[in-house]
Symmetry: C2
Subunit: 243 residues, 2 copies
């Protein structure tokens, strides 16, 4: 597998991402330590570990998750291309969740110490980094509100709207259908619902023709209608910085 230069990064000109200037690309390329491919099921970052690397997802999908002492699992978020992994360890010194690959993934690798160089020499990029952290915080805030306040069908609808819009923004799939290679158990663990209940709730949404997730494909004929069930706005995601 050949290493791609940041100048040819597949994330550039991809829907939601704010492109870098040529000069930034050159800087980032020096920043880049390599590339990594992982198989489904691989743990990329481990809760409690102090990984020396941070990654940007180039391709593939994964999960952020936390495990309680007695084994219960909480899925914190779905990991898609463009996401930055390991920022917590890079900044605070220790990962607070695990990141696991669900499909085969390709990752762009940076060394943690380079962060200092970035903060010293590239204030705009440091700002972008903080932007990314703040955006993550925003998303988690919404998740907290969902788990705390929304009922079963609202939760499922909310999650499907969110991930559908993210994937469509990435120009995966078509206007109505996107690939979604997770298990129902993953969604259940993300929403704090049991597998059985999640399954039955997905059936209800399918019966109402609001969302059909089967065979690894999510079909949403009318996002606005689904968003209404979710009690949320189907707002397009803002363009965001990356890397």
């Amino acid at each position: 597998m050949k290493m791609i230069s940041c100048h040819d990064c597949p994330l550039h000109d991809c829907g939601p991402f704010i492109p870098h200037s040529e000069e930034e690309k050159t800087f980032l390329n020096g920043f880049k330590a390599g590339e990594m491919s992982v198989e489904p099921g691989t743990q990329i970052l481990l809760e409690g570990s102090n990984a020396p690397q941070i990654y940007t997802v180039l391709e593939g999908m994964g999960l952020r998750e936390k495990t309680l002492e007695d084994g219960r699992r909480q899925v914190i978020n779905f990991v898609l291309p463009g996401d930055l992994l390991g920022l917590q360890a890079g900044i605070m010194g220790e990962m607070q969740h695990t990141v696991e690959a669900v499909t085969r993934m390709r990752l762009c690798v940076f060394r943690r110490e380079s962060l200092w160089t970035l903060f010293r020499n590239r204030p705009e990029l440091a700002f972008d980094l903080t932007w990314i952290a703040a955006a993550e915080e925003h998303f988690l805030g919404e998740t907290v509100a969902t788990l705390g306040q929304r009922g079963g069908i609202e939760r499922v609808a909310w999650a499907l709207v969110k991930i559908f819009l993210r994937l469509r923004g990435l120009e995966k799939g078509t206007k109505e259908a996107v690939p979604l290679p997770y298990r129902q158990q993953d969604l259940a663990d993300a929403l704090g619902l049991s597998l059985v209940h999640t399954n039955k709730t997905l059936s209800r949404l399918r019966a109402k023709r609001l969302a059909d997730w089967s065979a690894g494909t999510l079909r949403v004929p009318d996002v606005a209608a689904l968003a209404e069930v979710a009690m949320t706005d189907p707002e397009a995601l803002p363009r965001r910085p990356f890397l």
Copy 2:
């Protein structure tokens, strides 16, 4: 009310905060736009607004909260001295939650544009800012895991452990008791439980002599025992940067 210089900031030498160098203090002092006192009930920052200021809490307590379209309220976090407010608006351009004062509060005010100066001229402080954002993300991740996976009594115990340790770290109250001037409804909305159920759960903890929250004071004779009910580690909080 006279404005305090950053050189005499009450947060310095206060338990959990990493002090600034003299030089940093001088820089921050130029950064400071003023001071603000607010009465209980005041909305300091509004969801959806684009506030031109960011604040550091010097004294008092408050709440971060989000409101769903139909009025349901989710408390995102409890706001204590040392917390930074408005970073989201400062970085991303819009607040995603409301911040409300519960007691009288005193706030240190900064202008949002100063953030740029900070990123350009003070990489260590910019790094600290990102540290704060990452820490917030970490905490919200734990909250998501709590709302998603823990049952009623575990949730309440978890929240009481967290806030008890935070307050004790700030050297409020004694070793066993700290002031906690919120309503049961606030805790209920933070944990996604009904007021009635929260009340009954607090009673159970009181009966077991694990935690007694009444008359605005939280008493925890044995943090480790309470943490065990919460299925969490009663880990001391790491020292953290501020401002």
